[in-house]
């Protein structure tokens, strides 16, 4: 249980004339839900892109599934991309496919199932993500913002990947759907033993579903701990993030509940 599924060592990223990451170390344990938080522009999305090797780090090593990945390690990369699902911050749905085709696409590419089976499985994912069968034939442009987010989630979990990367999955969702999302993530972890790395600004999600939270700032992981511990750490950046009026109100609710 305690082996790391992702290991980042001494990651540096130089983008647009500044260091986005400067000597960043992070390891993700198999089976956990890890959240990455930090202010806007702290480099959270960039970190996810680096883990997926969509962007080569300026320096540092990345190990995923026990194998080091570099732009040239094609087999390791192939394995990674087949066994992980990604929800991008801006959804990245295929605009010329319908919702059903979007979700069915990974299944079609990576399995030898009949079209009918693929469609059934894809529909199950669509339902799991909180959309309805009536939406299946719509194109991304015909879906609302929140629906697009859910469609992207459905595509990310289409293959039941071992490793799930979610970039702001609840942004733009109504509170009820966000709660449903939390439940879905917990269920996925419990039933499929997924490892989930997510970037989120949703403090409710942080308290509800995460096992650990990594706080990104100054190009490094400033702290990594379960959320209840993290909010007590005495660091001006963390304090500023969590003890704003919103953070405090929510903290009260949850820490009250746990006692």
């Amino acid at each position: 249980m305690n082996e790391p599924i992702i290991e980042l060592k001494h990651i540096k990223n130089y983008l647009g004339n500044s260091w986005v990451h400067n000597d960043l170390n992070l390891s993700v344990t198999r089976g956990e839900i890890l959240a990455i938080v930090g202010g806007s522009g702290a480099g959270k999305s960039t970190l996810l892109r680096t883990m997926l090797m969509l962007q080569t780090p300026t320096a540092g090593t990345i190990k995923v599934f026990g194998q080091e990945i570099t732009p040239n390690s094609t087999t390791a990369l192939h394995y990674l991309h087949q066994h992980s699902g990604v929800l991008f911050q801006h959804n990245a749905l295929f605009s010329s496919f319908t919702l059903l085709e979007n979700v069915a696409f990974p299944l079609k590419e990576h399995t030898q199932l009949t079209q009918q089976t693929i469609n059934q499985l894809a529909l199950l994912k669509i339902l799991a993500a909180g959309l309805t069968v009536e939406d299946a034939n719509k194109y991304p442009a015909e879906l609302s913002g929140g629906m697009q987010k859910r469609a992207a989630l459905a595509r990310a979990i289409a293959l039941d990947p071992e490793l799930l990367f979610l970039d702001e999955p609840t942004a733009g969702l109504d509170p009820q759907s966000a709660a449903a999302f939390d439940e879905l993530v917990l269920n996925l972890q419990k039933t499929l033993e997924l490892t989930i790395v997510m970037v989120t600004h949703d403090i409710d999600t942080l308290w509800q579903v995460t096992n650990r939270v990594a706080f990104l700032g100054e190009g490094r992981v400033l702290a990594i701990a379960p959320i209840a511990e993290l909010v007590t750490i005495n660091n001006p950046l963390l304090q500023a993030y969590f003890t704003g009026p919103r953070g405090r109100a929510i903290e009260k609710i949850y820490s009250g509940k746990k006692n």
Binding site: F94, S95, S96, L100, L107, T111, Q112, L113, T117, N119, Q120, L121, L123, L124, K125, L127, A128, T132, V133, E134, A136, N137, Y139, P140, A141, L159, D160, N187, K190, T191, L192, E193
Partner: protein, 373 residues
């Protein structure tokens, strides 16, 4: 042979359905095969044993749910034994989702009459939209011309650079080659009559009146018209055009007008440039193939080719510029939906521009003949 994932055990007093191994997506085909091999009829009660399933994902749970549903339908009694907790939980999740599963609504199919009507209506809509676009553009153009300070000079200069200056090499090269080819083909005929020097007349007229302007227009259509359509189309998808509207700026003013004015300025100049290189190519070829010296060439050229031919060619070019900019931008504005729409409208812009240019050129030919020019 691999171990079966699903097997019926008839040895015990109660029939037992044994589920084992990895019930995952990778094994789904195998699982379905095993499922089909089992005789599901005449079952009274069965025990389903899931102890030996060591991994199950949603697709495995889906198959299990299918089995349970079938057993329910044929009123077989069953109980689930020794399943792992998380697998039962997954099964519950899938079962809950399955109740919402139904046939995907099929899009309606229409008969040919309906489709014909739809197509005609779409065409009419398209013409109407184009007219509206031209109308809006004209109004804005008139407003801007009366108040030259409203012209966006930076954008205009930018267009002149990217669509004009940067196109110089390709236009030079292609017109030079056309000049060479024309001379070669006409030279073959002229040589048999010994009328070598007449190459100057033919070349001068054809390049000035037709080839220079037409070639330029077609290169610019492919190079710039398509770029206009793709750029504006992507902006439409990105809601940038809507953002402009909400900021109180007419998209046509910011996005279309500078392109239009820029091309109108650039096209005659580029045509002149094309003329020059077309003649140069022809001249070199005339010397090499037909033995017409440069001196002879220039002397004859000055005698027979009048400035009027040049003007007749150049006068067409602003019209071509108008066609390229307006159709390119209009097709960009028509983009909707997704990325393939950008592709479709970009293609359409080039096809329509080329079509319109050639038609216009033909009309000009008729007009000039009527006028006796």
């Amino acid at each position: 042979m691999t171990k079966k994932l699903l097997e019926m055990n008839n040895q015990t007093d109660v029939q037992q359905l044994i589920c084992q191994g990895s019930w995952t997506l990778a094994n789904l085909n195998q699982l379905k095969k095993d499922y089909d091999q089992i005789n599901w009829n005449n079952l009274k009660t069965i025990a389903i044993d899931g102890n030996a399933i060591y991994k199950m994902d949603t697709s495995g749970a889906w198959i299990l749910q299918k089995i349970l549903k079938q057993l329910n339908q044929q009123q077989t009694k069953f109980n689930l034994a020794h399943f792992h907790n998380e697998h039962l939980l997954l099964l519950k999740m899938i079962a809950a989702q399955e109740t919402h599963l139904k046939e995907i609504p099929q899009p309606k199919r229409f008969n040919w009459l309906h489709r014909l009507g739809q197509r005609s209506y779409d065409q009419l809509q398209f013409i109407q939209a184009f007219l509206a676009f031209i109308g809006e553009l004209s109004l804005i153009a008139l407003r801007v011309i009366r108040n030259p300070r409203a012209i966006r000079w930076r954008l205009l200069l930018n267009i002149i650079e990217t669509s004009g200056y940067q196109a110089l090499p390709i236009i030079a090269l292609l017109s030079f080659m056309i000049g060479v080819v024309l001379t070669y083909q006409m030279g073959l005929q002229l040589r048999t009559y010994g009328a070598n020097i007449f190459i100057v007349d033919l070349l001068g007229f054809s390049v000035f009146r037709e080839f220079g302007p037409l070639l330029t227009a077609i290169i610019i259509a492919g190079r710039t018209g398509s770029a206009f359509a793709a750029q504006i189309g992507t902006m439409v998808l990105n809601e940038e055009v809507d953002a402009l509207r909400t900021l109180g700026i007419a998209p046509a003013e910011l996005l279309v007008l500078p392109k239009l004015f820029g091309l109108i300025i650039v096209m005659p100049l580029l045509s002149m440039w094309a003329n020059l290189f077309g003649l140069l190519g022809g001249m070199l070829m005339a010397k090499g193939m037909l033995g017409v010296t440069f001196y002879d060439f220039f002397e004859r050229f000055a005698q027979v080719v009048s400035a009027r031919s040049l003007w007749i060619g150049l006068i067409k070019t602003p019209i071509f510029a108008l066609l390229i900019a307006s159709i390119g931008c209009f097709q960009g504005m028509q983009v909707s939906g997704g990325a393939d729409s950008v592709g479709r409208h970009t293609t359409r812009s080039v096809v329509q521009i080329t079509f319109c240019i050639i038609i216009t050129d033909a009309l000009f030919s008729i007009l000039f003949t009527r006028l006796g020019l």
